[in-house]
Amino acid sequence: MTHLVDIILSFVLLSIIFSFGSSRLQGLIKALAFQGVVVSIVPFFIGHDITEGGVLFSLTTLLIRGIAIPFYIYRFIEKVAAHRELEPIIGYNGSIFTGLLLIVAAMAVSRKFSVPSASTSLLLLPTAISLLVGGMFLLMARRKAITMILGYITMENGIYLVGTTFSVRAHHIVEFGILLDVLAGVMIMAVILQNIKLKMQSGGEDTSLNIISKE
Amino acid sequence: MTPIIIFIPAILSAPFFPAIILKVKAFFGGKKGPPLLIQYYTLAKLFKKGSVYSTSTTYIFKLGPMVSLSAALTALMFLPISGAAPLFSFKGDVLFVLYLLGLGRFFTIAAALDTASPFEGMGAAREAYFPIICEATTFMIFILFYRLTGELTLASFFYGNHPLELWRVAGAPLAFVVTAFFIVLLTENARVPVDDPATHLELTMIHEVMVLDHSGPDFGFIEMGSFCKLFFYAAIVSRLVFPFDLGHPAMNLAAFSLIMLLIYAAVGVIESVMARYRMDRVPKFVLTSFALAFVATIITLEFVK
């Protein structure tokens, strides 16, 4: 029987494809926000007994991942008035194609792993993997620093999915760690980015990003 | 006592034999040639004279003749002249003798270079060059002899009828050895076709040019030294071509002297019928001697096994 979670997760998978295909930052951010919301509510749907601590964590995560970060980045883009174009290193069609392949591969791979709580959902592991690798793909395939941050967050979503849903007695310390990671990571990156923007008025943001330095 | 009795006259007769060469050459030239005792006269004349020393020279210049002469003399002490027992003999004296002659050569060259004369340097360079190959040959020959006799002394090779033994075991190949050694003789003693002692142009000389500046008794020593050296090699060759022991020392001596005459004559003949090689040809000529010795060794090993 298909689990309710699977339906949501399939949307997440779609969002990955979409994010691969979207040529504009805004689109990317929307996809991201969606992912953030989903991954943070997934735990509710998985049949664990939910402790209030768990609820608290999930809500904070929802707040941060689904709302705070995307909003912050949205504002940021407005502020630095970055070009809306993404300047892909790998083209959109190519990216979409890769995305599809990626999902298929993820499916195949996840067959091989025996998840402790596999009973609950089939798509969980594939989605996690797809998010993870998809995030890295964005890191590699998009030239803009801002996009790289987005990719990083996608990756984090994947990790979060694994971390929260698979370890049954959800170790809060784990969740806390992940939270700290994404928060701190994104914050400091944004700060640097801002500085870059300020420093490199001349060339605009892009110059700072396909920076080529000596080996 | 016999060694001394043999040794002294040998030394004294050393200056005699070269006269034969001159005679033979003269004969070929259709001339009467110098008296047989010419070399003795020369020596006497030189010993009477005083000397002129170049301002460039040092004590090495004076040392040279003495050392080369002494080396040659000492070498003769180890040689069983006419198959009689030598003055000295010990395990490996062959090496000692060869290196002693080397010492003599070192000082001849050093003395030559002492004069700062470009010509003598030229001669010295050649004197340093060709004997290297000769030594290789000589050692090759002695390796062969060692295989045959298991000894490493001149005495064991050339005493009494030991040479006969060599012939018996080695057989025909020993002829090669004799040839090789004869070539060595020509080279080491600066004879045609390696060097022409009678030429006029210093540029083409080896031994003669090196001693240009020596005069008086010093030059006498040098002459004497080269006579002894020639005598040394000739004596060895003679033992090889006439390996027999006639029983009595006197008869041996007679036979020996005869053979020596023949050898010197042969040298004379060669000098008369051959021209001196171009300098860059000489190494090839000397190398043939090494090749001969080598072939001889390899062939003989078949018999000795």
């Binding site: 370890s167 310390i173 990671d181 990571g185 640097i192 920076i211 | -």
Partner: protein, 473 residues
Amino acid sequence: MVEILFLIPFLAGVLAFFLTAKSARKTLVATGALHFLLSILLWVYQPGAIIPAYFKTTHSGLLSLLVISLLFLLISIYSTAYLDIDHIKKENVFIGTMLLFLSTMTMVTLSDHIMVMWIAIEATTLASAPLIYTHGTPASLETTWKYVFICSVGIAMALLGSVLISLSMEANKVDVPMSFSALATVAKNLDPMWLKAGFIFILVGYGTKMGLAPMHTWLPDTHSEAPSPVSALLSGVLLNCAYLGIFKTHKIMVNAGLGDFSGTILMAFGIISVLAAATFILRQTEYKRLLAYSSIENMGIIAFGTGLGGLGAYGAILCLIHHSLIKSSLFLTSGNILLSYGSRQIEKTGNLAGHMPKTFVAFFAGFLGISGFPPFGIFIGELLIIIGAFQAGRTVWAGIFIFSLCTIFAGFLNHAMKISFDDHQAPIKITEKARMIWPQYVLLTTSAVLSFWIPDALYRTIVNAVVAFGGGF
């Protein structure tokens, strides 16, 4: 009570933000000294932790801690002199961050819980980023960006790895706290597949931080951009912290009977790193990058040794300690060179022996130490590792290893001689200050002494640390 060790520098750091440059410096040195004192005391008494679930004094931790606090003390002293010449706009911020950096690193060495260690290491990244950005030039900015980004991605991997390890507990319903010490005891019961996966992610993650090729890419830029005291800290201490994570995980693997798996992977990374270092040292043009690559080399050596186990593991720990001592001294010296020649280019330097004899001695001694010559400890470390490699029958690996070591030596020698002896007329910008020399000398002397005599306590600690890998003799 061990928490004090990282709390004190933390508070001091926060305090420093509100101080003037002068007093901030005092705080820096004072904290360094206090920290050193405390870690000595820690060695003596080995007290328990307030939160034993998270913190614990382990043998490996103690070793790194001692190295850290010794290095920090000396580096802080050097920095006071360094800051006189190399002017930094917000000095108190700089010093404050340094102290925070210290506290995070101390936390790494003391943390026993997998997640806590991960958090601590993440924190080191965050704390060190401002230090690298100190000069605020576009280049340094770019470098900082690279550093933060690559490390964050790496660390994220490590995070996933930690999660997977918890999964490996779930899989077999193992119910123990997620602490290295606890897991090491029950390692046998963990689910091997998830454990392997976890190890791989942790290795890659922390390996990125430790500077193992091919994840080392952030390291050269960072070390050459950062002010020399910072590079010294990064190379001498931070890398060890990352290594600590790998080391402890590897221990779990060994106890779980997966030692061959993890060991081989470690060795592979080690060899790759050494080769990578060789590649870039041969034709290097900047001496700070040169030193950075040499750090990569040494991390490779250490990983290789750890993977070998036995003699190799012991050698690896020796290399770890001595590398920290020598390399940080080298970076401090490079600071002197940079300040006096005003260029990072090897081309622009020369005749160090003539211009600054004292610095030259520190520099060349450091070079000899780092390339494995007695009387410095890396010599004996490498010796043991190579012998260990043969002992383990890894002849081919050893062959490649030795080959790369020789190449690196050749390359490094060329540059070192260029810097030390080549002709150079242009005048020197600074005079040699005592405070900019003797910290290096202390470090080098320590290494020299330790390579002939190791205190028994230290020796026992080392052996206990590596005993799991059949270390010692």
